[in-house]
Symmetry: C2
């Protein structure tokens, strides 16, 4: 071959960028059954993209939910094997009215590409594939064994990932996992993530009467489901922002003084954070800094509430039903099942008189994960980031959850290194999600550099 992987990345930059637009136009919303065909089409697009990169073994594995795309490029038995993880599904685009441009029509403004899934994480997914493709263009094959696993259900909690990983354990065997589903601390400040929160979710369905009732005839005399739900929901936290569910904090391993110092060492501009998000003040569990809460303290988040009349004007109804969505972000050693049981107990104890409430677990729980800082791939990733950014990475944690990480640990015995490019304020899961095009360009170099760095020298 007469080219280098750097040449290959440079030459193909316009094509790579066009591919990103193409992928972002596919509305692969995994939560919404009406988008099932779009999700399947996106899986095929990704599989095809792997084939075009030269990956010899590519497969779309059907599940009871959305498919998983697998790929494998074995180059030499004496080289390490890296499993690159990502997801091609995206969050719902609602509320559409708050987007400045259509969520599935990528729009470039001021160096940012606005689209649902741009930052979380179709851009990152492509940087990995395009990086591998460039390496192969230069040398005929990547420098190490590379396996790919791209799922279509990350945004609904990866309910079928365990069964696919378990059934394809040999195919997926690896020395380490690179998760492209991550980000960097800032445009000029790389970071290495050492912890991910777990997740447990429930829906609370509350009922008071057999049907909605006329508020004039009944409002003064019968329990009101919306009122009962508001009272119940208000018991879930105390006035200091602590979760008021009995036992919630019992299994929590508190941060050590060293860990608190490590977290405090990472720059955090509280005023800018607040201003960027349009907040009048911060909120959260008393006794911890915002960063500590975000990275290392468990939370109970109310994701949605509804009941009664929501239309224009008034409808003088006494609602008989109300609903609440809750997810908890967990830290070691909280267990998702235990948390669901605690919420069920809390609801049973605090449900107002005249109301009954059921607590239904939502699919997609995950255990919290702490990543292994001693892993050689962790070091190689750090060196790569230092070279790429011209600055040493800070050690950070994520308030987010990637069930895959716990699954790879349990099923493959492999640790994960987070290796993605999204910016912290890029609007993942929110309207006007964006991805910095500089990060997209640089990320492709990052994947090629790291895989090069992992190659073991040949014995002569």
């Amino acid at each position: 071959m007469s080219t280098t992987w750097r040449d290959a990345l440079e030459t193909n930059e316009a094509r790579h960028r066009a591919e990103l637009d193409e992928l972002l136009r596919l509305p692969s919303v995994s939560t919404d059954p009406t988008h099932a065909d779009d999700v399947a089409a996106t899986a095929e697009w990704v599989a095809d993209r792997l084939r075009r990169a030269g990956v010899p073994e590519v497969e779309v594995v059907a599940t009871a939910g959305h498919p998983v795309v697998l790929g494998r490029w074995r180059v030499a038995g004496n080289q390490p094997t890296v499993l690159i993880y990502g997801h091609y599904d995206v969050q719902p685009e609602e509320p559409v009215a708050l987007w400045d441009s259509p969520p599935f029509e990528p729009a470039e403004r001021d160096g940012r590409l606005y689209a649902r899934g741009s930052s979380d994480m179709k851009g990152n997914l492509l940087t990995a594939v395009q990086g591998v493709e460039a390496l192969a263009a230069a040398s005929g094959a990547p420098p190490v064994n590379v396996t790919f696993i791209f799922e279509g259900e990350e945004e609904i909690g990866s309910p079928h990932l365990t069964e696919v990983v378990r059934s394809r354990r040999d195919f997926l065997a690896c020395d380490a996992v690179l998760s492209a589903d991550g980000g960097q601390h800032g445009p000029d400040q790389p970071s290495l993530n050492v912890a991910l929160k777990g997740l447990a979710g429930v829906q609370v369905n509350l009922r008071t009467a057999g049907s909605d009732l006329h508020s004039g005839m009944y409002g003064a005399t019968v329990p009101n489901a919306v009122q009962a739900m508001a009272r119940l929901a208000a018991t879930l936290h105390d006035a200091d922002g602590r979760v008021a569910v009995a036992g919630f904090y019992d299994p929590v391993v508190d941060l050590t003084a060293e860990e608190r110092a490590e977290i405090a060492a990472v720059p955090f501009d509280e005023a800018a954070f607040q201003a960027n998000l349009g907040l009048s003040e911060l909120w959260g569990e008393a006794g911890w800094t915002p960063r500590e809460r975000q990275w290392a303290r468990p939370t109970l988040d109310l994701n949605g509430i509804w009941g009664g009349f929501q239309g224009e004007g008034n409808k003088t109804v006494t609602p008989s039903e109300a609903h609440l969505k809750i997810t908890c972000r967990l830290v070691p050693d909280q267990e998702p099942d235990g948390i669901v049981a605690q919420i069920r107990d809390h609801v049973a104890r605090h449900c107002p008189p005249g109301a009954t409430a059921e607590v239904i677990p939502i699919e997609g729980s995950a255990r919290p994960v702490v990543l292994d800082r001693a892993d050689p791939v962790h070091h190689a990733a750090g060196e790569t980031l230092t070279e790429l950014f011209g600055a040493e990475p800070v050690i950070v944690r994520s308030g987010g959850t990637i069930p895959a990480t716990a699954i790879f640990q349990e099923e493959l015995g492999a640790g994960t290194i987070m290796f993605g490019w999204s910016m912290p304020d890029s609007g993942a899961h929110a309207p006007n999600e964006w991805y910095r095009l500089d990060d997209f360009r640089r990320g492709r170099y990052g994947y090629a550099m790291l895989l090069e760095r992992l190659r073991r020298p040949e014995l002569s």
Copy 2:
């Protein structure tokens, strides 16, 4: 004429019943702008029905909202003039899934006709028109001067009724109003209503951040709009079911011992009431009986709440907006504007840190009304009911609101007598609304009998 009005009602019974089905098939939902044409078509249907009854002057009066149908049949200057009031609009049919038969396909089961608007109040409207028609069939004209006013905006609080009444004051001048928008205590127990509650409504819009945020990245650190709204909503009542808005009860004229005795004299089967509605217990302001609360105590009712994610599964979002619909049922001497101001003050005082909330009044407020028991039409109505049911009417009050009643009092100086047939548990404003076909048949006789009774003897 060779026929009596009783013969006319009997002969035309099948046709009258078919007209009810026809009227109920028109989806005249006044709250929903997409139904505006249906509401207009229903106004035309009602106007046409008045013409077919022989009413000489019929008019459909356009407003900025839905039209008002007027009719007038002047028979003699020395006879009293009665204004018959009703509304041809209906509540929204949602939630449709809870109906056992389609809401706009009248279905007869066990002597009940199930349809949206059957009980509130298309059935009652027709009993008045058909009763007048039968009187005219017997004598060429009704025995007294009769004016009709049927509006299309009762279910949205009659926002344009005042201006129509004011501009047509001469046309509408009357000695008394008969409101067909009412009911009886039970199938064998007539009742005379002496009070109606007033109404004041607001929507509370609460905001925390510039947009919805990823709960993993932000949930621990930023205020959550759903949580803030739940906390705020939970402050609106105290643990004893009293409204906790400062000043709310100040203008209330407490019931006298005589009034409490009068209310207690009306039979109320609490166990059956509870069982019929599927309640595990009753709820309400401590210190008053259920009947007293329902008939004579003011309330603050949460009609609806919404915010964040409401779909299937989970969406790990920290919501930035939440909304609450509130209506209050008022008693003398509460004023709607004063109540809205008190709620605004309460929200300002109790809005949790990090959230801002605006309080928007909803159209359709009404003053509470106490009806005049000394009115001769009140007596005539009582005698008619005694004859019709074979039992003396009990004195009752309504927890509901009919703005028209206050408007007629203020603009025409005319008191209202409630003269309708709906049963208390007929599901008005709820799924599976029904109307007893026996009441429909009997109600037509009731109107004919009362108008006959109001005729002044001719001087010889």
